[in-house]
């Protein structure tokens, strides 16, 4: 019985590998935030073509909204939901890619480094097994494939509407609490220092670095502008990155009424507008 059971399993794995070999989804929808993070990273490491990529965008879920369909093929969006720009720069380092330009989102510095993700990428055993055995990659998980096959068949509209005023108030109320939490200052300091060290390294290699902030809902921006955290963060960023060769700031786009799905993350229309604006630089 055990022999047969193992044999059946091997047959299932083989059949599934063949299925994956001949199936392709334009965009893979993750089941959860953590999985979305790994899919972004694994796509970049195992499925991107370094020669065709001249620019890379790194950042958090905010810049992740800059959907690849709004970007030319030469621009790769490596923004990771649940992470921040310093994680993105480490992944570029690990991959060995050397783009001409790196767009760095400056909105999120209050997260701990995702050591589990980075350790798994640093482990040669895990990296190689995922590279050579496709069904071990997150985007090829059985239920992810099933879900994507279903959403592709029924062409479900994943475009989320702008935020309602009630949800916006709740989000902003949570946001306010976080903004004025002074315990974050040390973490911000540490994360900016880490990012700065990595970016200086690239700037020395003549890679152009463009620092930008993702726009948010106007009312959220007012809260942010009045927060002690953002004032501290902005002055530290200015002090750290000003007057460095190959590093420049993209001016904030205040002339457009950006809309969000939750007060922070842009709707598709607004994301497209900002992508066009960003790529002018």
């Amino acid at each position: 019985m055990i022999k047969n059971s193992i044999l059946y399993t091997l047959c299932f794995l083989l059949a599934y590998s063949l299925f994956l070999r001949f199936t392709h989804f334009d965009r893979v929808v993750a089941l959860n935030v953590q999985q979305s993070k790994y899919i972004t990273v694994e796509n970049f490491l195992y499925h991107s073509n370094p020669k065709s990529i001249s620019s890379i965008i790194i950042g958090s879920s905010m810049s992740e909204k800059l959907n690849p369909k709004f970007l030319p093929n030469s621009v790769y969006n490596l923004s990771i939901s649940g992470a921040m720009a310093s994680t993105g720069i480490k992944i570029i380092e690990l991959s060995g890619h050397k783009p001409k330009k790196i767009y760095v989102e400056l909105n999120v510095f209050t997260r701990q480094e995702d050591s589990i993700l980075l350790n798994s990428l640093n482990s040669p055993l895990i990296r190689k097994q995922k590279e050579f055995i496709p069904f071990l990659q997150e985007r090829n998980q059985f239920f992810v494939t099933l879900l994507n096959a279903l959403t592709a068949s029924f062409s479900i509209n994943k475009n989320r509407p702008p935020v309602s005023s009630q949800v916006l108030l709740n989000t902003q109320s949570d946001y306010l609490k976080k903004q004025n939490d002074s315990s974050n200052f040390e973490l911000i300091n540490q994360n900016i220092a880490l990012l700065s060290a990595a970016l200086k390294n690239y700037s020395k290699q003549n890679v152009q670095i463009l620092l930008f902030r993702m726009p948010v809902e106007k009312s959220t921006l007012e809260i942010l502008n009045n927060s002690t955290r953002l004032k501290f963060e902005r002055s530290l960023i200015k002090k750290t990155f000003s007057n460095l060769p190959n590093i420049s700031f993209v001016p904030e786009d205040n002339g457009f009424n950006y809309q969000t799905t939750d007060g922070i993350h842009l709707t598709n229309e607004s994301a497209k507008h900002f992508a066009d604006y960003l790529l002018k630089y």
Binding site: L13, N32, T171, D174
Partner: protein, 461 residues
């Protein structure tokens, strides 16, 4: 070391290979002890020191009891184990409430040491050894065994790696008789395979996937979610905690059998229970039988009238709750179960409806609902947050509910646990071919749909 990690796989394979070499038959116990120490010390080697002290003390005490049947020595042994547990698990809470200790004090350093992993389990096993020896239920007359041999066997009993960190809690009189040479051709491969596949499936596919969604049971995330989504999350957590712990226990049983040892069953389809008393006969059986044998019965059990029985039930569940951790949330969880057991006993009667299918189903659903809501106190360390969650569970009905990926995934990953219970409930017998095919599918899903590796929930206890 996690069961679902490469270092563990390497350790098991290496140990297995050496263990069954005929030339090493006489030192099999030493091989398992060495492997267990590596397993335990892998992340924090200094904790091994405490484990060894506990083992040595319990060995000497139980040895002394077997020579001189003294109640005083038994009390000394039990008190030592309880003090060890109290100091490392509860002193931080105790001193923060009753005393102020300066940060440069050695005591401050000691009580703020991280909780030694598995301490709740191995101190209970120490108590079991001491009490069983005194009662004579464990055959430790040692007529033909030296103190040295007794220490070796006790070390093996406590440190045997499949159960060391999160049980099942072994009783001395069950384990010691099994310590004898084991042979490769006697391995019960079918049960090894079955327990390991189901165990790893429950942990890696069900629990580890569900945890990505039940993480939303955290303040302040739950405050903005609709009532129905909160109910989905709570249901998902109920399934997750079962899959996580039952999965661990099945892996432990499978590994035990791989090395020739029968570890006791720890879960027996708990979510089909029609009463709270039945639930505790099916959930974490090794803990509930331990509490019954070494706490409830010594307290008097049901021998001193109704009031004393209720009090004993409540007290045992309260202490059982605190066993899980030094926090009021665990005490409240214990009190909810204690209260439920007392109320159930108060209204126990033999009415005619007891064989009615609908009535049985309603009772099962009520028990499941209360047990599920009580898990909230496990999930949220802050008692106030648990109450806030309950408030939002009933008051967020004005937030529109959208059936999204989260709710669909919570349902999909819960299906195996529900099916697992229903198959048993309706006495559905699988042919060996179908059983093998199902195991193949589970093994396939372990490869292609495991969640992100997470600690076992019970490791924190």
């Amino acid at each position: 070391m996690l069961f679902n990690s490469y270092p563990f796989l390497f350790l098991v394979l290496l140990t297995f290979f050496i263990y069954y070499l005929p030339v090493f038959t006489k030192i099999q116990v030493y091989i398992l002890i060495a492997a267990s120490f590596v397993f335990y010390a892998y992340h924090a080697p200094y904790l091994l020191f405490l484990l060894i002290i506990s083992i040595l003390f319990n060995s000497i005490i139980s040895w002394s009891i077997s020579i001189e049947l003294s109640k005083k020595i038994v009390v000394l042994g039990v008190v030592f184990n309880l003090l060890l547990l109290f100091f490392f698990k509860y002193s931080s809470l105790f001193f923060s409430v009753f005393l102020e200790i300066k940060t440069d004090n050695l005591l401050y350093y000691l009580i703020n040491l991280p909780l030694p992993i598995g301490i709740s389990f191995y101190t209970f096993e120490g108590i079991s050894l001491v009490v069983d020896t005194f009662r004579g239920t464990k055959k430790t007359s040692h007529s033909n065994k030296s103190l040295y041999n007794h220490i070796v066997e006790t070390t093996h009993f406590v440190s045997f790696f499949p159960h060391l960190i999160a049980g099942p809690i072994l009783k001395a009189h069950v384990f010691y008789p099994q310590i004898k040479p084991k042979f490769f051709n006697k391995i019960d491969w079918y049960n090894v395979y079955r327990n390991l596949v189901i165990g790893f499936f429950l942990k890696m596919v069900v629990a580890d996937n569900l945890k990505e969604f039940t993480n939303y049971i955290a303040y302040p995330y739950f405050t903005n979610l609709p009532s129905l989504t909160l109910a989905f999350l709570l249901f998902g957590y109920s399934i997750q905690i079962f899959a996580d712990f039952a999965g661990y226990s099945l892996i432990a049983i499978g590994l035990g059998r791989l090395f020739g040892y029968d570890l006791p069953q720890n879960f027996n389809f708990p979510y089909i229970s029609k009463s709270f008393a039945e639930f505790w006969q099916r959930w974490h059986i090794s803990l509930s039988t331990w509490l019954k044998e070494y706490l409830y019965i010594p307290l008097g059990g049901n021998r001193y009238g109704s009031f004393r029985t209720y009090l004993n039930l409540f007290l045992v569940m309260f202490l059982g709750g605190l066993w899980h951790g030094a926090g009021w949330n665990y005490a409240v969880w214990g009190m909810v179960h204690g209260g439920a057991l007392v109320i159930e006993r108060l209204f126990k009667n033999d009415n005619k409806t007891k064989s009615n299918f609908i009535f049985k189903t309603i009772k099962t659903l009520i028990v499941f609902a209360v047990v599920t809501i009580a898990w909230l106190f496990f999930k949220l360390p802050n008692f106030g947050h648990s109450l806030l969650f309950l408030k939002h569970l009933f008051s967020n009905s004005n937030i529109p509910f959208i059936l999204g990926i989260r709710e669909v995934c919570l349902s999909i990953f819960s299906i195996p646990v529900i099916a697992y219970h229903l198959l048993f409930l309706f006495n559905f017998r699988l042919s060996s071919k179908l059983d093998g095919l199902i195991l193949s599918v589970l093994l396939f899903l372990i490869f292609v749909n495991s969640g992100f590796q997470g600690d076992f929930i019970y490791f924190q206890f």
